[in-house]
Symmetry: C2
């Protein structure tokens, strides 16, 4: 039987947390991520466990099974293909596509995803720079990408990925001219945790708090 969009949201949340923490995920973490109570999470964990999508060790935490991960990867693929379509063809700003894709990913068929991918010419990254899993659901080798905070003053880098989940952060980066593909000259790293950077299409430097810069990854310029 098919999974409800709600059950799918739980799987996605668990997957995100697993990637972030690399250890079993606790009930309360899922509750915080989704915005429901721990009680609700406990009961959804039961159903997901019965369906073989995760392994639950009571009082310890959960881990996705292969089946669970596969469902999540399918969703991620649909999500990122949709985002690509929305920005590249429907003229959405990349800052605005996440919410629409988050809703639609649960409702487009596999057939739709396959055809959309063909229409888009099988893209490998989405507008935030995140990799799009292919039909076999394998994620392509990511190019070497490092958080902006790892570079030093004086270096020039290209923005590779920006965080896709927090609207305010996306808005902040957009307004300061930072998006995937932007070339950046790192002017200075101040003591109070601010990066001074100069985007390639700007004259003045822009201040980026470390808190945000940590989640922006970049690769060295190819020259």
């Amino acid at each position: 039987m098919d999974l409800s969009p709600i059950a799918e949201e739980y799987l996605k949340a668990i997957s995100t947390l697993e990637t972030e923490h690399a250890r079993p995920i606790r009930t309360v973490e899922i509750a915080d991520e989704i915005g429901v109570t721990s009680a609700s999470v406990s009961s959804m964990i039961d159903t997901l466990d019965e369906r073989g999508l995760l392994e639950h060790t009571p009082y310890k935490g959960v881990e996705l099974t292969g089946d669970g991960e596969e469902i999540v990867t399918t969703l991620v693929r649909k999500h990122r293909l949709l985002e690509t379509f929305l920005t590249d063809h429907l003229d959405y700003r990349w800052t605005d596509v996440h919410e629409e894709a988050d809703r639609l990913e649960h409702h487009v068929s596999d057939e739709f995803a396959t055809r959309l991918a063909t229409f888009l010419d099988d893209p490998t990254t989405d507008p935030h720079g995140d990799p799009i899993p292919d039909t076999a659901l394998t994620v392509s080798e990511e190019s070497v990408q490092t958080p902006l905070t790892e570079y030093e003053a004086g270096e020039t880098v290209v923005v590779a990925q920006v965080p896709d989940r927090d609207h305010d952060v996306r808005e902040y980066l957009f307004e300061h001219g930072l998006e995937p593909g932007t070339e950046l000259y790192l002017e200075a790293v101040t003591a109070v945790g601010i990066l001074e950077v100069v985007p390639d299409d700007a004259d003045d430097s822009v201040s980026i708090p470390t808190k945000i810069a940590r989640h922006v990854s970049a690769r060295a310029t190819s020259r």
Copy 2:
């Protein structure tokens, strides 16, 4: 508050039945249309009535209000825009798009619809030949269209609309080469309720039962 996809399905069903019968719609008709029991319909009618989307006269039937009709028209617009996108850009056959559009129409935002319409160059009819309501939700003047059964042997017509809801009927028409835009020579009308027609891209005549032909509309050729 937003309406659930299920509530939206009820409104669509009522609208379809109103168009078909031009009179208040009874509980059991809605039940048959959607495939639920009359009891379920009764209770949904209550909620829809409370929201001001229809008027219910107990034991008599329901009629959509202006608000109710507006919601349906928005859904129809989304549905037909989606169908157009699926056939024109994702290479779906026009016989296969109805189901996907029926799911997605409940989940795409108004913003998405607006942008999709622009992307598609503001089409006025969908792949089945049905008119697409514009942003103001007015349906464009339909060209004069008459059921195939109203024409006489010897006439040449162009298929304007095919039924969009029944997959088997669509499949039948597709296999016999009848789709919107097909030019048709009406060879004969037999006694047992069969039309013999010759599509423009075929040599042999094709037999269409009156039962089906009644729901295919056509306009006279422009020559």
